[in-house]
């Protein structure tokens, strides 16, 4: 029965686990440098040179997470008018952009590609990252694995919070999983278990991004309540629900 595929699957999943832990030094922000070189050859326009070196040194990833908090700070400090500022921010596999997003479907029927409901134990066997469950909420009401194991959603209906949803994914792998359309003044840096997180106030448009970088139109929807994004070195999470910041942080720090 489980002959060749058995051991192969085992080696494959160990390799994936190792891949999540490999030491990769922080990347520099290259936007300004690349632009400068391209302008040099396109010629003609006189552009103020952005301090690429300074920005470069400023950006440090302390964990394996994709954390672009430094840029976020710059953006929050100078929300408008900066010409060349990157209008795309990435945080733990979630990309934030300003301005209106795709038109979300009016009802909450939006879904991720290939959703499959299953038990927590089954889900744990099907995905390549650890699924964290917040002790503060107890056993999940529903567990949904989507897009061939790329995302796991852990869903609760619990007084006093109502509907609470946690999407988990390997967001530290430098891929985009979700794109959000948020006025950046609604986003703030927070700390979850000593690591950086992002707190987003209020509903915003959310769309799932497939592994090829396309928006999955059917997934576009308006989020409910507030959102917290954070991660560990092995998994990134977004918690969504009608939660106060204190409650969200308490739930997040009880996740293990």
């Amino acid at each position: 029965m489980a002959d060749r595929t058995g051991w192969q699957g085992a080696v494959e999943s160990e390799l994936r686990a190792v891949g999540r832990e490999l030491a990769v030094p922080p990347a520099s922000d290259l936007t300004a440098a690349v632009r400068q070189r391209l302008e040099g050859q396109t010629a003609g326009r006189d552009m103020p040179t952005v301090g690429a070196g300074a920005l470069r040194r400023q950006l440090r990833w302390r964990t394996a997470l994709v954390v672009v908090v430094a840029l976020l700070a710059v953006l929050i400090a100078a929300p408008q008018g900066r010409a060349v500022i990157i209008h795309v921010l990435r945080f733990a596999g979630v990309e934030l952009g300003q301005g209106p997003g795709p038109v979300p479907s009016p009802r909450s029927s939006a879904s991720l590609p290939g959703e499959r409901r299953m038990s927590l134990e089954q889900a744990r066997r099907q995905v390549s990252f650890p699924i964290l469950v917040p002790a503060a909420l107890g056993r999940p009401g529903e567990v949904v694995v989507s897009d061939g194991g790329r995302v796991v959603s852990v869903i609760y209906r619990r007084a006093p919070y109502g509907l609470v949803r946690i999407d988990e994914f390997a967001g530290h792998l430098d891929q985009v999983y979700f794109r959000k359309f948020v006025p950046l003044s609604n986003a703030a840096k927070v700390e979850v278990n000593g690591l950086e997180g992002l707190w987003i106030k209020g509903p915003h448009e959310l769309v799932y991004i497939t592994r090829n970088g396309y928006s999955a139109t059917a997934s576009a929807r308006l989020t409910t309540g507030n959102t917290l994004i954070w991660g560990t070195s092995q998994v990134a999470l977004r918690l969504e629900g009608d939660l106060s910041k204190t409650a969200a942080l308490a739930i997040a720090s009880s996740a293990h």
Partner: protein, 190 residues
């Protein structure tokens, strides 16, 4: 105020010389490209490799076929740059993949003995991957460390799909041989 634009729209505009639009792609793909460059052998020079790759990609946008995903196309250029670099450098020792020396508070929960064993096993696996022949190591990096599909890996490494499959399974077999095959045996052992 700018809106976020899709890859396809950004590429179309960049092709017409819109550097803002290209900047969106640079921002969006820098981390992925950097991880690929680093793991495919550029090591400490990953930033330079990625910068070079973005400049070359811009110059070659006219060859980009509309509808094709941008990621693998870009990573192919990155992989090529990384290859040229290691060819000129010829020093492999410094490029070995490694695990972080100390995992800080990553997995707080769990049995410390199990964790120690797992850590040791992972270290062995990394050492085994480092010891593989170049091509087999590359294919494993693409498939499992960069999370690319077989088809994407073929695109990135510029190999036929068949080579991706055969080198992957050869590499996996070698790792199986290197790791202690204690578990996972279908024949019940006494």
């Amino acid at each position: 105020m700018r809106r976020v634009i899709d890859d396809a729209a950004a590429i179309a505009r960049a092709r017409d010389g819109d550097l803002d639009a290209y900047g969106v792609l640079v921002a969006r793909y820098t981390l992925r490209a950097h991880r690929a460059a680093y793991l495919l052998g550029a090591g400490e020079e990953a930033d330079d490799v990625v910068q070079e790759a973005f400049v070359k990609a811009f110059r070659n946008l006219s060859r980009f076929r509309a509808g094709e995903p941008f990621g693998p196309w870009l990573l192919r250029i990155v992989a090529n740059e990384a290859k040229n670099l290691s060819r000129s450098r010829r020093r492999r020792a410094a490029l070995a993949l490694r695990l972080p020396s100390a995992e800080p508070s990553a997995a707080a929960a769990g049995n410390p003995i199990d964790e120690a064993l797992a850590a040791e096993r992972r270290a062995q696996l990394v050492a085994a991957v480092n010891a593989l022949p170049d091509r087999e190591r590359q294919v494993l990096v693409c498939r499992y460390f960069l999370d690319l599909s077989e088809a994407e890996t073929a695109r990135v490494l510029a190999w036929p799909l068949g080579s991706v499959k055969s080198r992957t399974s050869r590499a996996l077999s070698r790792l199986r041989g290197l790791l202690v095959p204690a578990e996972q045996d279908p024949v019940s052992s006494g």
